[in-house]
């Protein structure tokens, strides 16, 4: 099967979308690895291809007389099992990387033996967890290995060092993890273990089925051929593509939003380090845009620091902020000081959810200014980028758009983080058809 791929190499996450020659979306992939651009691209693409394979599996199961709900449940369970297998495989990498880190850096800290025992304990505890972590309905902090493993690791490390020990320090243990994870991210990259993980996952399902296993085999056997690719995003100058295959984020977001919601005239994208307000016409062509200047205040990364500070997952922030009844007014939004601001407010006795609500509102207020600068909200409006996944941010945005521009259709889709990648994929698709026509 031939496919075109669009990659949005963001500052925080890398997103990939694969489409067929008609521009139909086959699969989506995302990773938060930031340490290595090539690896990040490779991981995102392979995740997107996995996603495409699951769609194929679902397709293979169709028309075989299996009840639709049951089919859907199979695929869902299969995916969950697949993630668990991936997680296990990565844990194994982590183990190796931790040992290496210990050898390299443990000595300078002394107490290698004690650290080694502690590591063994932590890893053993972590190895026992995946089943539970990936159980249906389980509340995971994140789907990214770095976050997930990181939070489990710190928790176990915290428990081990709670008993006051002269020699075993929490910081040393965490330091080892922070070293090792870089290694894992760089290495894990693109090996496609799809069939292996999927079959193993299928074996572990409660309800085993021959049909499913065959579907996996068939789907895994379909050859996938990349015919065209376009990259965009913050890191686009470093993408492993020629210049001609790189498009500005503005155009990609504009086109992506247009395809998702054809009535869109205004697009707001809040990513990790930048915010863009884009106006497009009826054909998805950009007519004007504004971006934040060199200050990253009020972007998604801000929420990242807040989440770290509160030891929460990113997706937990929004719901907590939504519980607020009275948002605290926040003035400074220097991203790096987010944690300090939070601490200060807490110590002034403000309620946590009210502070959070205030922080979200502050971010959206900044975005509102950019929006206004780009020409305001004239009619249908689409909110994209990672922060669109945050309920409290969305809530604040709805309210402010309503107050300032009146009733408007506001589109927010769970896929909105992929908007830029989608636009890029469509540019890739066009580029390919031009080539085909020319040939």
């Amino acid at each position: 099967m031939q496919y075109c791929v669009g990659i949005d190499l963001g500052s925080t996450t890398t997103k990939a979308i694969v489409v067929d020659e008609q521009g139909k979306v086959l699969g989506r992939g995302i990773t938060n690895s930031r340490s290595n651009y090539d690896a990040a691209c490779a991981v995102a693409v392979s995740e997107a291809l996995h996603d495409a394979r699951f769609a194929q599996i679902a397709g293979e199961l169709e028309g075989r007389g299996i009840d639709a709900d049951r089919r859907a449940a199979w695929v869902l369970d299969l995916e969950r099992g697949f993630r668990e297998q991936q997680y296990r495989a990565q844990l194994a990498h982590l183990d190796g990387a931790l040992q290496r880190a210990l050898r390299e850096h443990g000595r300078e800290r002394g107490h290698e033996a004690e650290l080694e025992t502690a590591l063994a304990t932590i890893l053993a505890r972590m190895a026992a967890e995946p089943r539970e972590l990936f159980a249906a309905g389980a509340n995971r902090k994140s789907d990214f290995f770095r976050d997930l493993a990181g939070s489990r690791y710190t928790e176990h490390a915290g428990m081990l060092t709670r008993v006051k020990s002269e020699t075993l320090s929490f910081d040393a243990l965490v330091g080892l993890f922070d070293k090792a994870i870089l290694d894992v991210e760089a290495k894990v990259a693109a090996r496609s273990d799809f069939a292996e993980h999927a079959q193993r996952a299928a074996h572990e399902l409660l309800e085993r089925s021959r049909e499913l296993e065959q579907a996996i085999e068939r789907a895994a056997a379909v050859p996938m051929e990349e015919v065209s690719s376009v990259g965009t995003g913050y890191g686009r100058a470093r993408l492993p593509f020629p210049r001609s295959r790189i498009r500005s984020e503005i155009l990609c977001h504009g086109l992506g939003a247009h395809v998702m919601f054809p009535g869109t005239r205004t697009v707001l994208d809040i990513g990790g380090q930048d915010t863009k307000a884009i106006q497009i016409d009826a054909a998805g062509i950009v007519t004007s845009f504004q971006m934040n200047d060199r200050c990253a205040a009020g972007c998604g990364r801000y929420l990242g620091y807040i989440a770290d500070e509160m030891n929460l997952g990113l997706h937990e922030l929004g719901p907590m902020a939504c519980k607020s009844t009275r948002a605290v007014r926040i003035n400074s939004t220097c991203t790096v000081f987010a944690g300090a601001e939070l601490r200060e407010r807490l110590s002034l006795g403000e309620r946590r959810e009210d502070i959070l609500a205030g922080l979200h509102r502050a971010i959206i207020l900044r975005a509102m200014s950019l929006l206004s600068r780009s020409g305001g909200v004239r009619s249908e409006f689409t909110f994209t980028g990672g922060v669109a996944r945050n309920l409290a941010a969305v809530g604040a945005l709805r309210k402010l758009v309503h107050e300032n521009y009146g009733e408007m259709t506001i589109n927010i889709s769970p896929e909105s983080i992929y908007t830029g990648a989608l636009g890029a994929a469509l540019f890739a698709c066009r580029e390919w058809s031009h080539r085909e026509l020319a040939a």
């Binding site: 200047d293 400074s332 207020l365 509102m368 200014s369 206004s372 600068r373 305001g376």
Partner: protein, 389 residues
Amino acid sequence: MTETLPALVQRATELSRDWRLSSVRAWKQRTGALAIGYLPVYVPREVFHAQGVLPVGLTGAGDDLEIIKGDAFYQSYICHLPRSTIELGLNGSLDCLDGIVFPATCDVIRNLSGVWRMQFPSKMSRYLDVPQDFDRAMGGVFYRHELEDIAREIHERGGRKLEAEALRASIRVYNENRTLVRELLTLRREAPWKLPTAELYVVLRAGLVLPVEEHSAMLRRYRDLAQADAERRPRDQARVVLTGSFCEQPPLGLIKTLERAGCYIVDDDFVPVLHWLRGDVCTEGDPLANLVTAFLEDSIDSPVRYCGDGTKGQELVQRVDESKAEGVLFCAPSFCDPALLDQPMAQAALDGRAIPWTSFKYSENTGQFHVIREQAGTFADSIKLWSEA
């Protein structure tokens, strides 16, 4: 009149942050006359008054209003005042004004006049170019033309024709107001604990929206009440002159912070339109000529007024002496070119006399005073500890 001191201060505080101009709306409803807004730093309000117009001083929106659309008009490196002014225009708060006058204060206000015209083409909006040549034969002639021109436009828009007798009467009313303002400023110099700046500030700012007669009444009452309050006793605080805040006004919280951090502000340049002219304007003879002459020859020193003889800073030194201040706080709006470019000259003058100073910046919506508190507190500490030692 039985208004108590707290009630008066409360009323003044509300007026000082009344960016919706509800008091102006009420006044217009009562009188059916015109109200015309003006930006800092100085306009001859007597002319408006003589034409039956209420002059309304605009100083942005303070720290109450979230600026959204106004930010679309101004880059991050421009002061805050124009963006809140635009925001107020766009959200309808200034609808009750029949026009706005933009005095030649700085490039930002000058260009704001152009933005305003493009944005609100149907309203009267007028740039008032003030001379930087202070010779009656040149700057004087030009300025007189400008004033006559404005008066004509106001008349065309429904204000009374400018008549000499009415203008003389208005000058008298404003002379009285200026006398009261000067009196309060002098009283504060003598006993800053009796007239804390956080109060005086809002009482003066109320004068931007109140009819001058009402404001004079408020000033009188405030003077009597504050002086009579026996609870107000001196504390161990450092006496400082605050300078740089002549245009965009600081949030009240900033002034409170400074006083709490151990400073008595004994002189400042807030709301300069109220005391721009040092003395009374002459009420004999041609009143317009008198206003022009007063502007040319009796204006206070200000960063937006040309000082060609190299004596920049001397007036500040003199203010320090007269108010027996122990130091100077340079407190200017961020990105305010006139205020900030003036500072090195003023600082050199202070250094020449070994007068201590410190400087910081604010914007009208600054909400965190942490750093400023530390800085002002340390400044006050050092004055206190060392004057004692």
